[in-house]
């Protein structure tokens, strides 16, 4: 299972990158492209990605800490803790 997923992952990376490059390669630079606009747009797009990921990751961590704290009413011992076998 693990090997299959690993292989699929490698294949995905190997094939997705050239495909993306090919797709983007179709876009031709316009005459007198405005580098100021292009570069700032890239910056803003990447900042949106960065902040979205930051929000999701930190949100998940906060949820994890609250949900799985010992004092949470919903908390129950794991099966390892229950059986005492580790």
């Amino acid at each position: 299972m693990r090997n299959t997923i690993g292989l699929l992952l490698v294949l995905t990376v190997l094939f997705i990158i050239p495909t993306l490059e090919y797709a983007f390669g179709q876009e031709e630079p316009g005459k007198y492209l405005n580098r100021r606009v292009e570069i700032w747009n890239l910056f803003f797009r990447l900042m949106v990605v960065a902040f979205t990921i930051g929000a999701v990751v930190s949100g998940t961590l906060v949820w994890l800490c609250i949900r799985f704290r010992e004092s949470n009413p919903k908390a129950k011992p794991t099966k390892y803790e229950e059986s005492g076998a580790w």
Partner: protein
């Protein structure tokens, strides 16, 4: 091991890889577009030396400490240095290229606004680096 799956980890890895690929592809694409110099761009030789900039136009006109360009035309800068490493920067137009002795580096832009803009050295190059500036004058086409 057989009692628990680790699919969340694989999903996580997949998402991270996909995002990295996407971010890389976007940046690669913009860099490719920005570096494509238009064929009709006028060449301007830019030379940095402690501590001023000099410019030479295609017709041989030379300027020191100031550069006169025309709005709406493309310019290809061939940037070099006579002494130490400098960096040619027009901040308002996001033009930035190292000036390295013995090398000619290429950067291009097409000014789209009339006005006066700062040209500066963006690589520490000695005592008067802070004042290694020039003025860019973008003028209306006649």
């Amino acid at each position: 091991m057989s009692e628990h799956g680790n699919w969340p980890e694989w999903v996580y890895i997949g998402v991270v890889v996909a995002l990295l690929v996407w971010v890389g592809a976007e940046a690669w694409n913009i860099e490719r577009l920005v570096e494509e110099v238009p064929e009709d761009a006028q060449v301007i030789k830019v030379t940095g030396q402690q501590w001023f900039w000099s410019f030479e136009h295609e017709d041989g006109t030379k300027e020191i400490g100031e550069l006169h360009l025309v709005k709406g035309k493309a310019y290809k800068f061939e940037v070099t240095s006579k002494d130490v490493i400098h960096s040619f920067n027009i901040h308002d137009y996001i033009v930035l290229m190292d000036a390295v002795p013995g090398r000619i580096n290429i950067v291009w832009f097409a000014p789209d606004e009339v006005g006066e803009f700062e040209i500066q050295c963006r690589e520490y190059c000695g005592l008067i680096h802070y004042n290694m500036r020039a003025k860019l004058y973008v003028e209306e086409a006649i």
